[in-house]
Amino acid sequence: MKDGELRPVFVRIDAENRRQRIMFLVGLVVAVAIVWWSVEGTNFSLRAALAGIPNIVRFLWEDLLPPRLSAAGRYLMPAIETLYMSYVAAVVAAFVSIGFGILGASNLVRNPLVRYGSRAVVSFLRAVPDVVWGVLLVGAVGIGPVAGVISLTLGAIGMLGKNFADAFEDIDPGQVEAVRATGASAVQVFVQGVWPQFVPAFISWSFYRFDLNIRSAAIVGVVGGGGIGFALITNIRLFQYQSASMGILFIFGMIIVIEFLTARARDAILGRA
């Protein structure tokens, strides 16, 4: 009797288990096929990779290490240039992105054409890596920090434009309504109802982006965008690997210090705002 009641349950669990096992096997086969395809396509051979290990270790120990400490001074000015580049790109992108953010927010702009247009531009800027902008701009304006600044700015708009639009969409409509109910004009509604709610997101995303700009600037420099990345690639191209490893340490230290400082500054400002 009891057995008879339970049997359907067992059958169901059994079927569920079988289904899961089949799904797992299918997933595994697909995964193995994709990996196989990639290995074939890239001519990857594990043996070559393993055979390369002694080379890599020798390169690390003999060529890269120890970092040439006396080369640190050489990186100081380029590092400061990277700071300027990151700052200019962050500030310009933050202000431009306010515009894209407003145009892309569904609660601020009724016209869907404008909204999707704004979001599409921003998505495009985001999907193309900063370094690609760097290569194109070096072609356009020549090697140097100008190319770097513009490509960082484009990349930053790609990120901030999206997050600002989302932040505008997340604001509390009640507060906006309250200002509108007093008979305020559209501009006043924005300045007094929308903007104050947007400020915290504005500040924290902008600071975060400044932080990312430093990392990005280090690579954009490699393709000719100026700053510390350019100094690093110059050393690598000249086979001065011990100076290069000093440069890498310098970038590492700079990223950590800036990350710490921007976090402190952001918290200080947000605590006040």
């Binding site: 920090p145 007093t182 280090a218 950590i256 006040r272 705002a273």
Partner: protein, 276 residues
């Protein structure tokens, strides 16, 4: 009372909300002060970069000239870009896989509850921070110096760069697993490898999978640029077109990179949603 919001009547809940909005804005003087500091710093930085008004005007005309030369994009290059685009995806897949494999081992050795010794955990976590802070492109340059040009240095660069993120995340996920399960397997006579494979990894699985997919997304972006320095994939086509002044082709390559990154993002988005 047109256009004035400064005299809200007391007791109205909505007006109280407005007042809270005001209060959150803080003293106006400070806001203006911060704005002035930001703008002064901006001017100073621009001056230091040599970006004065003349340079800006010249830059604008340079960019206009570039756009004039670069458009329309050269669609005849398109068929030639198919195989480098595929290679870009393959390099990202293998690099991610390598990163996952290394991160599982190193993450387990770094996790506080599994590490053979606390100093090993500390050293590994420092190593993660270092691999994270050094960009993939620079890893690629180093691996090219060590093993030569091609896809291999690209895969190795992505693998090592991925450890920085995945190793840290995996170690943290391992630290959060239920210690009871570990105890049970140990009590049943399981060795450390069995503890990890049968007790720890199954519990951490959701975190491992979703972060690995996220990392694949990041690696696709990186692998599209690694070719710029010669580490395989489509980046090389971009660099070549740009160096030769063939800007219409460079724009085509940029569009292909965009489509590749975007498509993979759509797929990984779907995967992540399916997993959750």
């Amino acid at each position: 009372m047109t256009g004035t919001v400064s005299t809200p009547s007391a007791g109205d809940g909505r007006h109280a909300a407005v007042l809270r909005g005001y209060a959150r804005r803080g003293p106006k003087l400070v806001t203006y002060g911060i704005l002035i500091v930001i703008i002064v710093l901006l001017g100073y930085s621009l001056a230091q970069l040599g970006l004065d008004f003349q340079r800006m005007v010249r830059g604008v005309s340079q960019i206009t000239a570039f756009v004039d030369r670069a458009f329309p994009p050269d669609m005849e290059t398109l068929p030639r870009l198919w195989s480098p685009a595929i290679a870009t995806v393959q390099i990202a897949l293998l690099g991610t896989l390598l990163g996952i494999a290394l991160s599982l081992v190193l993450g387990a050795l770094a996790a506080a509850n599994l590490t053979p010794h606390w100093s090993v955990g500390f050293l590994l976590k420092t190593f993660f921070a270092l691999t994270r802070a050094i960009p993939a492109l620079i890893w690629a340059l180093l691996f090219i110096a060590a093993v030569g040009l091609g896809a291999l240095p690209g895969i190795l660069a992505l693998g090592v760069n991925s450890i920085g993120m995945l190793g840290k995340i995996f170690a943290e996920a391992f630290e959060e697993v239920d210690p009871g399960v570990i105890e049970a397997i140990r009590a049943a006579g399981g060795n450390p490898v069995q503890v990890v494979l049968q007790g720890v990894i199954p519990q951490a699985m959701p975190t491992l999978v979703s972060w690995s997919i996220f990392r694949l997304d990041i690696n696709i972006r990186y692998s599209s640029i690694l070719g710029i320095v010669g580490a395989g994939g489509i980046g090389w086509e971009l660099q070549r077109a740009s160096r030769m002044g063939d800007y219409p082709s460079a724009i085509t390559v940029t569009l292909v990179i965009f489509v590749t990154v975007y498509l993979i993002e759509l797929i990984t988005d779907q995967l992540r949603r399916r997993v959750q």
